[in-house]
């Protein structure tokens, strides 16, 4: 049994199945829903299989078609990739379940192929180990995501998607330019090779500038976050969820990988800059979220703030690498679950009430208790209150910041949590008013409510899984040698 599992090339399956599935859905729209559900579920199983493989054999390598680097394409998965794949599979499955109830036929036929395409691209991205492959997957994911964002065809959606697309293309091209420079300098696109060869030189610095800017733009770090709120807020709920939870994380993942392997060791003050931008993002995003009167925009701005947290790890990683990165990864994982749950819950409210004006949400929130619970639990994680994944991440981050005496960051971390509490409760407070007015409502299928709730539960559950998760992430030492914890 064990040997069978370890022999199947799970990594390839993770890419191929959704890719083929996407095409199949495009060709046979009638089975799109079923196929999508099945394939995302198989995706979950495949990740489990891959996890088994990695845990028993160590880091996963697969040379596609038998051609290895430098000519062929190499699949590579260590603990970090595995976790990203796992969270993608989980959130993806949740989104699929949700979408099966959400979309009407007309949109459904367009949604499934695109969604499976995004999923394939995401999986491929997390399994890639060369910077050009990363570019391709990033681009495929980005284009499919733009198409998804424009799905409803409304004015807001179209203009949001347009902005998103332009930002995306700009980021990709910039990234590609950086890739070109790196290849020119070191003659390889394989990350492992590059890591060995890379040296500080004008070419490298230029590459860092181009790649960094491109990825920061795609990750929507302040001040390059301008495209995110309109795009995320105007997309259909499952799309918003997947954009906020997964797509944004993909570019962050690339940045993290490249930083760890290639750019980080070079030194310089880039990490400080990232830290400062992250800090401003936390404050700015949270304050903007507090100011919003529309629920989806609030949640979207919350994403801006939460991305800022991820970047706070950069300056801290100088002297406490593993801990800081652990914190960032944990925050990314829990944010993926929580934000997906939040957007899905928002979608439920929007569907039930027909609007997302926060001030008038009371009658909606009260009649969807499961959705309200999902929103609340996700909110707990976003606020970083225990017990939740967000809390663990914040705890680790605070610990590192305090150990290094980075008082500015400490204040930012704490303040960000307080502001998050502010905007989360701005919504939750609506659950307890005396809403007497009845209104026209559209029923919300149970699958939609439960999908949101279970994802939110996942974010909470992550608060109790720190030990296994952190030991998983250590497989293959993506963050370098493990230091002794203080």
């Amino acid at each position: 049994m064990g040997t069978v599992i370890t022999k199947i090339p799970w990594g390839v399956l993770l890419i191929l199945l959704p890719l083929m599935g996407g095409m199949a859905c495009f060709l046979w729209p009638r089975i799109a829903k079923i196929l999508g559900l099945v394939l995302t579920f198989v995706g979950v199983l495949s990740v489990v299989g891959l996890g088994w493989q990695i845990m028993s054999n160590g880091v996963y390598h697969h040379a596609v078609g038998g051609w290895g680097a430098p000519l062929g394409i190499n699949l590579y998965a260590d603990g970090l990739s595995l976790l990203m794949l796992a969270i993608t599979a989980l959130v993806g499955f949740g989104i699929s379940v949700y979408s099966s109830g959400y979309f009407e036929r007309q949109h459904s036929t367009r949604f499934w192929p695109l969604w499976l395409l995004v999923l394939a691209a995401l999986n491929a991205l997390f399994l890639s180990n060369d910077i050009f492959n990363l570019y391709v997957t990033l681009e495929v994911m980005g284009l499919a995501a733009v198409a998804l964002a424009a799905l409803t065809g409304s004015r807001d959606a179209l203009s949001g998607a347009m902005r998103y697309l332009l930002a995306n293309l700009l980021g990709s091209l910039s990234y590609l330019f950086g890739v070109a420079l790196l290849y020119h300098g070191f003659g390889s696109v394989d990350i492992t090779t590059l890591a060995v060869q890379v040296k500080g030189s004008p070419t490298t610095w230029a590459a860092l500038g181009l790649i960094g800017a491109g990825l920061v733009l795609k990750t929507a770090l302040f001040p390059l976050h301008f495209w995110l709120p309109p795009a995320h807020a105007s997309a259909p709920a499952p799309v918003s969820a997947l954009l906020s939870a997964l797509v944004v994380k993909a570019s962050f993942y690339i940045l993290l990988r490249l930083w760890l392997e290639i750019f980080g060791p070079l030194g310089g003050d880039v990490d400080t800059l990232f830290g400062v931008l992250g800090a401003v993002a936390v404050l700015w995003g949270s304050l903007q979220a507090l100011r919003q009167t529309r629920l989806k925009l609030l949640v979207a701005y919350s994403t801006v703030a939460q991305i800022g947290y991820l970047f706070l790890a950069f300056p801290l990683a100088m002297s406490a690498g593993v801990m800081a990165w652990n914190a960032a990864v944990y925050l990314a994982l829990s944010h993926a679950l929580a934000k997906a749950a939040m957007f899905l819950a928002t979608g439920n409210m929007l569907r039930f009430g027909g609007h997302d004006r926060i001030a008038d949400l009371d009658r909606v929130v009260q009649r969807l208790p499961l959705t309200a619970t999902a929103f609340a639990l996700a909110g707990v994680s976003i606020m970083g209150l225990p017990p939740s994944g967000g809390f663990i991440g914040k705890w680790l981050l605070l610990e590192v910041a305090l150990a290094q005496g980075q008082w500015g960051l400490v204040v930012i971390i704490v303040l960000g949590g307080l502001l998050a509490a502010g905007y989360v409760f701005k919504v939750l407070g609506q659950a307890f008013t005396q809403a007497a007015v009845m209104h026209e409502s559209r029923a919300v299928p149970a699958s939609m409510e439960w999908a949101a709730l279970l994802l939110a539960f996942g974010a909470i559950l992550l608060g109790f899984l720190a030990t296994p998760v952190l030991s998983l992430v250590g497989i293959g030492s993506p963050f370098g040698a493990h230091e002794v914890m203080p």
């Binding site: 179209l158 070109a180 290849y183």
Partner: protein, 102 residues
């Protein structure tokens, strides 16, 4: 100044021009074109840098990259144009509306 370097320099100039155009022009078609110009710049750089080994036969890998890149650029342009048309049909204006909600 070698030919290769000249090519590369032109590529960089194209990229910068495209970037400039992307920023200053409001019309979406111009923006899309700007993106394409930028892409061409990058491809040019890639092609030029393929001769980095100094041998007669250039490195094939950048070429493969450029081909991939062109495919991506084509599909991206197609998507962008579709979006633009839809947006124009919806708003009657081929420019991005000022976002009233921000």
């Amino acid at each position: 100044m070698s030919t290769v370097f000249l090519y590369a320099l032109v590529g960089v100039v194209l990229f910068s021009l495209g970037l400039y155009a992307l920023i200053v022009h409001a019309h979406l078609l111009r923006k899309i074109l700007a993106i394409n110009v930028m892409g061409s710049g990058v491809f040019l750089v890639l092609v030029a840098l393929a001769k980095r080994t100094g041998e007669d036969t250039p490195d094939p890998v950048p070429h493969a990259m450029v081909i991939t890149g062109i495919v991506v650029a084509v599909s991206a342009t197609a998507l962008a144009l579709t979006l633009m048309l839809k947006l124009t049909a919806e708003t009657g204006n081929a420019e991005l509306p000022e976002d009233s909600r921000e």
